[in-house]
C-alpha cells in the first residue's frame, strides 16, 4: 500500500493531506483497486474535489454521497447502482480515497 511515488497515506489508503493530490495520484490509487479511470470516474472525482473545497468535509456517509451527486448531476448518476459500478465496495469510501479526500466519518 505504500507506493513511494504517492504522498503520505493512512493505513486505509487515504491521503493524509488532501492538498497533496494530483490526477496521477488518483490513477495510482485507483489501480490498487484495479479501477481504470474513465470520463465517468473523473466527473465524480472532480465533483468530490469541488465539494470538499466548498464545504470542507467529505460527504459523511454513503447515503449522503449519493444524495449530493444526485443534487449536482441528476437522478441517473446520483444512484447507488451507478456509483457502485464506478467505485466498487462502499462507493463513498472508494471515491473519496481516489479523489484524495479524508475518509468519510461514517458516523451515520
Amino acid at each position: 500500500m505504500n507506493n513511494p511515488s504517492l504522498p503520505e497515506r493512512n493505513n486505509e489508503g487515504f491521503l493524509e493531506d488532501a492538498n497533496h493530490w494530483s490526477p496521477e495520484t488518483a490513477r495510482l490509487i485507483a489501480s490498487e483497486d484495479s479501477i481504470e479511470l474513465t470520463e465517468d470516474h473523473w466527473e465524480i472525482i472532480e465533483f468530490l474535489r469541488e465539494f470538499y473545497k466548498a464545504h470542507e468535509i467529505s460527504p459523511p456517509s454513503n447515503r449522503l454521497f449519493v444524495k449530493a451527486v444526485r443534487e449536482a448531476l441528476g437522478e441517473h448518476k446520483g444512484s447507488s447502482i451507478y456509483l457502485m459500478q464506478l467505485f466498487p465496495g462502499t462507493p463513498a469510501k472508494t471515491a473519496c480515497r481516489i479523489a484524495g479526500l479524508p475518509r468519510p466519518t461514517n458516523c451515520l
Binding site: N11, E12, S61, T105, N106, C107, L108
Partner: protein, 136 residues
C-alpha cells in the same frame, strides 16, 4: 394506568461534569418500575465519557459508569456511544483501536460504538426520545 411506553434515552452530559448520567439513571429505573420499556441508550457529545472503562472515582463516591453498566446488563438494554463523539474524546473500542493503530482501547461493556443511525432509529421506533444534557 396508561399504556406502556418505549423510550430512547440520549445522554449528552459527562459524569462528574454534569448530573446528566445520574438523573438519566434515576429516570430509567422509575420508567421500568412503571412498566415502560427502554429500547436503547445513546451517548452523544460529552456523554460518551460515561462509556470509559478507565474512570476511577474515589471508592466512597458513586461510580456512575459502573452503575450504568450494571443497570444495562441487568435489564438487557442495548447502549451505544456515538462513534464521532467517542473517537474525538478518546473512547475507543478494539475495532477503532486497530483501524487507527492506537495504543489502547477503553470502551466499557456493555456499551458499543455506533453511528448516529442508532439515534435516528431510536427516534423512529420509540414513543419518546428523552435527552439528558450537561449543565454548561
Amino acid at each position: 394506568m396508561s399504556k406502556a411506553i418505549a423510550y430512547t434515552i440520549v445522554i449528552t452530559g459527562a459524569p462528574w461534569a454534569s448530573q446528566a448520567p445520574q438523573t438519566a439513571l434515576m429516570f430509567a429505573r422509575e420508567a421500568l418500575l412503571a412498566g415502560h420499556r427502554i429500547d436503547r441508550v445513546f451517548l452523544y457529545g460529552d456523554g460518551v465519557h460515561l462509556a470509559s472503562a478507565l474512570s476511577t472515582p474515589p471508592s466512597d463516591e458513586t461510580h456512575w459508569p459502573r452503575a450504568w453498566s450494571e443497570f444495562l446488563e441487568q435489564q438487557n438494554i442495548p447502549a451505544a456511544a456515538c462513534i464521532a463523539s467517542a473517537l474525538r474524546r478518546g473512547v475507543i473500542d478494539e475495532t477503532e483501536q486497530a483501524r487507527y493503530e492506537l495504543a489502547a482501547s477503553n470502551l466499557r461493556a456493555p456499551f458499543e460504538i455506533a453511528g448516529l443511525g442508532e439515534w435516528v432509529e431510536g427516534n423512529l421506533k420509540s414513543d419518546r426520545t428523552l435527552y439528558f444534557h450537561g449543565s454548561h
